[in-house]
Structures are given as C-alpha cells and as structure tokens.
C-alpha cells in the first residue's frame, strides 16, 4: 500500500515555543486513523500546518505524492485534502444547502459562472442533497445554519468537508463540546461515512472512548512530539502513553 499522506519531520514554532516538534508519520489510502493527545498537545497546530493555515517552520508534507508544504489553503483543498474545525466554522447566515453547495460549485469550476442561475445548477444541488441525506439533515435544507442546534451545526461542518469531495479528510475533534447523545450520533455518522465513501480519515480526539471505537490505528502526540503509534491494543498497553495520560483514562 502507498501512503496518501506522508509527513516528514514537521516542526512548527511560535517564537521560542514549538507546538509541533519533528513529527513524522504516514497514513495509508482508505485508512481511518486517529491522532490523540491531551489538550495543548499540538493536534490543531499540526492540522493548521498540514492544511496551509500556518507556515511550517521546517519539514515537509507530501500528499498523494505531491509536496504540499506551505501551499495556500484553497490549493490544498483543491488537491483533495479537506478539513473540519474544532470550533464550528460554517457559513451561519447561509442556508444549510448553500453551505454544501458552495464547495461543490467551486470544485466544479462554476464559481465564475455569472450567467448561470443558482437554482438551475441542478446537478450540483442534487449532490448537495445527497450529502444532506448522508449527514441526516435533509429536512433542514433551507434553514439558515445559524438556527440549527449545536449537534446539527457540527454535522454541517462535516458536510462542508465532504462536499469538497476530498481524497482525505482531517477532522479536528468532531465531538468537541457535544452531549453524550450527540457524541454517539457523531461517532456512528463518521463510521457510516467511512464505510460508504472509503475516504481516508484522520481524526483528532482527546476523548479515548471515541478514538478506540473508530480508529484502526492511532498516533499519540504529547507536548508536540509523536510519542507512540500502533493499533488501539498496542496504544492501550503502551507504558509511555499511560504515563502521559496519567494512567486512568486510557482504560476508559
């Protein structure tokens, strides 16, 4: 198998403080893996560098065999690497459908179609409806996103990511701030998406329960460094990981 994402010695420093230190890892095609670590471990920063939001201090990111280090965000998305945000980041005043339609139109190169009417873009609207169905929001298509419940906003966040038709998806704490019920819903959604789309998933989480129920392989980030990687069983048994998590929660 070939890696779809290959990160080589990636480092990101803010002044003297390095939030990501010398991280190397590989993710294979059609894999669902997790990046875990306590709050402040550097997970979000790692994503920010991968997706072009921050410039890398050093190191390289290879995606689908192409060096994407420090490309601008929109170019990275166009190459097929799409991400979600830990803090919900959607188009609040647009309708749910429009939230999903915009990435589809851009992907199909219709952004400058001045003379085409939006409601005549039937193929694209259909596709947006398919994604709505996938994330379970078909009945909310014409609702402004700002009026949705928190859990539904998180689902739109995921929907926007999918609408870009990525080869690989980076989810940043998809269950952040959710109630247990919403969390279970999100977990089954992610599992369903993975099974139906066969997109490669990399998911960050600080909640161990979520991770062990989803990922086939896990990376552990601790104070910016890659502490360990392996199957859930291996990670559970790893003494270094246990220590980093102060014992307890790994068993959860």
């Amino acid at each position: 198998m070939t890696p779809i994402l290959k990160v080589e010695k990636l480092t990101k420093c803010f002044g003297d403080f390095c939030a990501v230190k010398n991280v190397s890892l590989e993710v294979m095609k059609e894999e669902i893996v997790a990046l875990i670590g306590p709050n402040g471990a550097g997970k979000t920063t790692f994503y920010n560098v991968l997706t072009g939001r921050y410039k890398a201090t050093s190191g390289r990111v290879i995606f689908c065999g192409k060096d994407i280090t420090n490309l601008s965000p929109h170019r990275i998305v166009r190459l097929g690497l799409s991400r979600s945000f830990q803090i919900t980041n959607i188009f609040l005043e647009n309708t749910v459908l429009e939230n999903l339609l915009a990435p589809i139109l851009i992907r199909e190169g219709l952004g400058l179609a001045f003379l085409k009417k939006l409601h005549k873009c039937e193929k694209q609207i259909q596709e947006a409806h398919r994604i709505l169905e996938l994330i379970g929001l078909s009945d909310k298509a014409d609702v402004p996103a700002s009026l949705l419940a928190y859990g539904d906003k998180r689902a739109v966040e995921i929907g926007i990511v999918l609408a870009a038709k990525p080869k690989m998806v980076l989810l940043d704490e998809p269950t952040a701030g959710m109630t247990p019920v919403e969390t279970d819903k999100m977990i089954s959604l992610i599992k369903k998406l993975f099974e139906e789309t066969k997109i490669t998933f990399l998911i960050t989480e600080h909640d161990m329960k979520v991770v062990f129920s989803i990922a086939k392989r896990i990376f552990v980030l601790h104070q910016g460094e890659l502490l360990a990687q392996g199957t859930p069983e291996e990670i559970r048994a790893n003494p270094k990981v246990r220590e980093a998590y102060l014992g307890g929660s790994v068993d959860a």
Partner: protein, 314 residues
C-alpha cells in the same frame, strides 16, 4: 403585493417626467446616477464584505476619461461610455490587485490611500485635468440609436438615458447575485477563512468583485459628468467616496435595493435641510447615528425584517 409595488414604481419612473417640473426631473436624474454609484459600491460592501473608502476613484476616472474624450475627439456617447468603462476597469484591476491582499480595516485603509493618490493626481496634473478648476465647456456627445443621432442635452432625454442604465445595473446585479458567483462572494462575506478551506481563492474572488464594482462606478461617473456638464476634483475627493458608504448604510447594505433607498433619502434630506442651514452634514450625522445604533439593517433592511416578522406571526 411586492410585484405590484415594483410595477407601480417602475411605471411612475417612466411616466412622471411628462408631468413634472424641470427641477424635479434633474433631481431624479442625479438620484438615479448616485443610485448606480451606491449599488456598485454595495457589491463590494454589502455583498462581498469589503468596506471601500476609495470608491470615488473609479467614479472619477470614468468621469474624467469621458470628459477628456468629449473634449479631444468627436466620438459618440456610446464609444465614450465604453472607453471610460474600460479605463475604470483597468484602474480597478490594478488598484484592486493591491487592496484585496488585506481585508477589514486594512482593506479600508488601502482603498483610502489609493483614493487619495488618485485625487492628488487629478488635482495636480493641471495640463490634463484642469486642476482644481476641473474640466468644463465641452460639447456633449451625441447618442447614436440605430440610424438616428440623438442629442442627450434635453433633460428628459438624459433622464431616460440614465433610467436605462439604472435599470440595466439592477438587472445585471440581480443576475450576478443569483449566480454561483453570488453565492461564493456571500460565503466570503460570511466567513472568509472557511471559504478558503472549501477551495475558494478568496483574494481572487474579492478582486473580481472589486473590478466589477469599479467598472460600474466608472459608468456612473460618465453619466454624472454629462449630467453636470463638468468634471471636477470633488468627484474623486474622499468625501465623494463617503457618499455611497452613507447611502448604503442608510438604506441597508444587506438589502438589494438598500443603496437606492439610501440615495433617495440622502438627496431628499439634503434638499430639505439645506433650505434651513448650511451645515447639512451635522444634520446628516444626527440622523445616521441613531440609524446605525437602532436600525443597523438600514431603512429598507429594517422594514423588510419588520414585514417578515409580521408575516411570521399571522
């Protein structure tokens, strides 16, 4: 209801010149010109989320180009209009290229800076622009319609010419905002960062919006110089850039016709107030402050919300 109201307004725009006094006709023409100017500004402000303080640069570049062509050539109205629009287009391409590198207050400052540069050039380059005197005393170009040549000098003719461009601008903008491009710039206004992460080249789309807005402002400038029979540096002064800002906020930047309502209210207020006092700006400020504080959606925006609310209750 809405359609009936729109039809009524449209009919009265076509009919009233045959009954009105000269003064009202000229007044209405100027309002229509400034409506085009304010609408073009609002494509950037209300629709794309970029506040420009230098939009008069393109109004002026369009206007001065038109006057210079009328002075030095024998071109008709339409070629002059097209060439002036092209001049505004290219200057918007260049100025916009730099301005869209930043957003928010930095964008506003960049546009202000470029606006001042254009003003300085217009003001200092006496041999070309007439400096602070401006340019006047040119003969109005003729309008070629099919095989007839029409003088645009009679106020009624000029009014209908302006009305034509006003309606064309409305149709054009409506179409633009209903297109995929409209959704993309709305998304950028909503959330520029997320837009980048769905694959939108944000500064490119902002630039396109800037160029369209600048070109339209140039067209408004052409109409204005032929209406006013002169081009003067006040056209490119920063206070002229402030006008569409005020009009859009007054009428409602999020409403399609907000800038038009703003232009109408602006002119009517100015007319009434200047009969009593010279300091009409103070009065305008006194009206603007409560509007911004209590009705941030502007006159039309607040009205639309109020109607929607009442409908919802029924």
């Amino acid at each position: 209801m809405r359609k009936a109201l729109a039809a009524l307004l449209l009919v009265s725009l076509f009919v009233f010149p045959f009954f009105s006094e000269m003064f009202v006709l000229l007044f209405a023409t100027e309002i229509l010109i400034f409506s085009i100017f304010a609408l073009s500004f609002n494509l950037l402000f209300g629709c794309t989320g970029l506040l420009s303080f230098g939009h008069a640069a393109f109004f002026g570049i369009g206007g001065y180009t038109a006057v210079l062509l009328a002075y030095h050539t024998h071109m008709g109205f339409i070629p002059i209009l097209l060439l002036s629009a092209v001049a505004a287009f290219f200057s918007a391409c260049i100025i916009g290229f730099f301005c869209v590198r930043r957003d928010e207050i930095y964008f506003a400052m960049l546009t202000l800076g470029f606006g001042m540069m254009v003003f300085t050039v217009v003001h200092q380059w006496r041999s070309l622009t007439g400096g602070s005197d401006g340019l006047s005393g040119f003969s109005l170009p003729e309008l070629s319609l099919l095989f007839a040549k029409v003088s645009i000098s009679p106020p009624k003719t000029f009014y209908f010419l302006t009305l034509f461009f006003f309606l064309a601008t409305l149709l054009f903008l409506k179409r633009l905002l209903d297109s995929p491009f409209g959704l993309i710039i709305r998304s950028i206004r909503e959330n520029p960062e997320r837009s980048a992460f769905i694959g939108v080249n944000v500064s490119f789309y902002r630039w396109v919006s800037f160029v369209i807005a600048g070109t339209l402002a140039g067209v408004a400038g052409v109409l204005f110089v032929f209406y006013d029979r002169m081009a003067s540096p006040s056209m490119v002064h920063w206070t002229m850039s402030a006008r569409p800002v005020l009009m859009s906020i007054l009428g409602g930047a999020r409403s399609f016709l907000g800038p038009v309502i703003g232009a109408v209210v602006f002119y009517i207020l100015e007319y009434i107030v200047t009969q009593f006092t010279e300091n009409w700006m103070i009065f305008l400020g006194c009206i603007l402050v409560p509007i911004v504080i209590f009705f941030p959606d502007g006159i039309l925006g607040s009205l639309e919300k109020w109607i929607a609310k009442r409908r919802g209750r029924k």
